[in-house]
């Protein structure tokens, strides 16, 4: 199926999902659904770098939170609509991704990963010290009373916006996979030295992957302030984003765009259920255990368990 047809298919599925949610009529569906969609976007974004090129980003929370806090700043200074704020959040996170990559991607992959871990701590420190966005006390964001689209509540609007982002990110991931770029990414993952010798500009591609991945993560975080209405560093940089960003693609399967979606839906709904029935710390523990378990036992994730783990072998 070519790219355009796939986008149409995604849009149809998205419309169906939205329609089904409306039909159920319960506001909780939109609240919970938003979180799952957000994780699909986050996991797919992570996978563009981690799954396709093999470079592991542990600082998902930083890129995500930068998008959220860009919205806070823009909300205080302007009255831009959300669909404009999202790309701006994406640009901020993308630039940070580019910067981190530029400083560390010439070296071994593990140095990049360590740097992303340290980055998460530093960005959190900087935001916590920045009074304009509320510092450690947090910021209150008033949800607008009306939505740009007639007839739906604001939470439904947020759901729709996130649905749109998911369509964009998934379509992009799939398009990359099937393109010349995707081949280039795969060679970086398989054998970077041989890739260079074959003419692949590995540094340039890695920077592209890092920037794109970071930008999408920022866009996934941008609507968050309107969703939670009160944003403080503890929730913006929550451990949940740190671990889920890595666990969802690894559990679902990193070799294709489908893996992160499976992982996000599975772990996302699991956590929504667990947060309500047991404590939220305990449900994070379950995610952590699943991450370690899958990485040891099923390295290609759920896709791998169904024999879809290896890349397509085309003639």
């Amino acid at each position: 199926m070519n790219g355009a047809k796939f986008v149409v298919l995604l849009l149809i599925v998205a419309a169906a999902v939205f329609g089904a949610a409306l039909a159920i009529g319960n506001a909780y569906v939109f609240f919970a659904g938003y979180v799952v969609l957000q994780y699909i976007a986050l996991a797919t974004a992570w996978n563009i770098l981690g799954g396709y090129t093999g470079y592991v980003n542990f600082g998902t929370a930083a890129f995500f939170a930068l998008g959220a806090y860009t919205t806070v700043v823009l909300h205080k200074l302007t009255s831009l609509p959300l669909p404009i704020m999202m790309p701006i959040g994406g640009i901020v996170s993308g630039i940070v991704g580019l910067g981190t990559g530029y400083l560390t991607l010439r070296l071994r992959g593990s140095f990049f990963s360590i740097a992303t871990l340290a980055l998460a701590v530093v960005v959190q420190t900087l935001i916590t010290n920045w009074d304009f966005v509320g510092g450690s006390r947090g910021a209150y964001i008033i949800r607008p009373m009306t939505t740009p689209l007639l007839g739906i509540d604001y939470i439904q609007y947020l759901f729709l916006v996130m649905l749109g982002l998911v369509v964009i990110v998934v379509a992009t991931a799939r398009a990359i996979e099937r393109s010349r770029l995707g081949y280039g990414f795969a060679t970086i993952r398989d054998d970077e030295v041989a890739a260079e010798a074959s003419g692949v500009p590995t540094l340039r591609l890695k920077l592209l992957a890092t920037t794109l991945s970071g930008a999408f993560m920022g866009m996934a975080g941008a609507p968050l302030p309107y969703y939670v209405t009160y944003l403080d560093p503890a929730s913006g940089f929550s451990l949940a984003y740190a671990v889920n960003g890595v666990a969802m693609p690894l559990v679902g399967g990193t070799s294709s765009w489908l893996g992160p979606i499976i992982g996000a839906i599975l772990l996302g709904t699991l956590q929504q259920v667990a947060t309500v029935t047991i404590s939220s710390a305990l449900n994070l523990l379950i995610v952590g255990l699943m991450l370690v378990g899958f990485v040891i036992v099923a390295p290609n994730g759920i896709l791998g368990l169904f024999g879809l783990g290896a890349r397509r072998a085309r003639a």
Binding site: Y183, G184, E196, A197, G199, V200, R311, A313, A315
Partner: protein
């Protein structure tokens, strides 16, 4: 400038900490030449290849190729200029099929011309006798088949200069002849070839010029028949 060698290595030096891997290497290769490079294990042959191709950075000296200075250029830029190599220990892309492995240089080295990529892939696989395994993954190959894939991938980059690093190790007499014929045919089509080998009959048959490397230094460079009679070479490498 016309008349300049295609490849000019001048005063090349490379150290690993305190260990001197290469010292004051001078090498000139003319367009269309067939050069053999021999020497004992550990003499620095692969290090020299790595430095020429950009996989390693050399500390001293310089490398000129096709009118360009290669110093400071990354490996992929050198490949794009027309220098290609096969690795001594094959390094295939393990999650890609054989055909896809060959597709990579065709997509990225920017040198294959107007021929459709799929067609060129099939042609190359056929040339090395792997056409029936086009959709397989590298892990399904024997060691020998992996060497052939490695060579085919280097050829896919449509190089002006191909450096074959022990591409024939472990092959049967017949297979060595096949690869040799392949390399000679490539050369007749205009590709300059540097052959690094231990199989002396292949080296002697193939080389118009023979270079000998021992302990990081070049000790001989010239007509193959003269070089193999050189007492230093005999003592250091050929034995009796």
């Amino acid at each position: 400038m016309p008349g300049d060698p295609l490849l000019q290595v001048s005063g090349l030096g490379k150290r690993f900490g305190g260990f001197v891997a290469l010292e004051a290497i001078e090498l000139a290769v003319s367009d269309g030449e067939r050069v053999g490079l021999i020497g004992p294990n550990g003499s620095g042959k692969s290090t020299l290849v790595n430095c020429m191709c950009g996989t390693l950075r050399h500390e001293m000296g310089s490398v000129h190729f096709a009118g360009h200075t290669l110093d400071g250029l990354s490996a992929h830029e050198r490949t794009r200029l027309g220098m290609s190599r096969s690795f001594q220990l094959p390094r295939p892309f393990n999650t890609l099929s054989l055909a896809d492995n060959l597709r990579i240089p065709l997509l990225y080295a920017g040198r294959h011309g107007a021929q459709p990529i799929d067609e060129r892939c099939a042609e190359l696989l056929h040339m090395v006798g792997l056409a029936d395994k086009a959709t397989r993954l590298p892990r399904d190959l024997t060691q020998i088949e992996m060497r052939k894939l490695e060579l085919a991938r280097a050829m896919a980059a449509a190089p002006r200069l191909l450096i074959a690093d022990e591409a024939m190790a472990g092959l049967s007499h017949h297979e060595v002849d096949d690869i040799l014929a392949l390399l000679i045919r490539l050369n007749e089509q205009g590709v300059t070839v540097i052959l690094i080998e231990h199989i002396m009959r292949a080296v002697m048959h193939f080389s118009q010029r023979l270079v000998v490397l021992v302990a990081g230094r070049k000790i001989a460079d010239g007509d193959p028949a003269d070089v193999v009679r050189d007492p230093d070479v005999v003592r250091a490498y050929l034995g009796e």
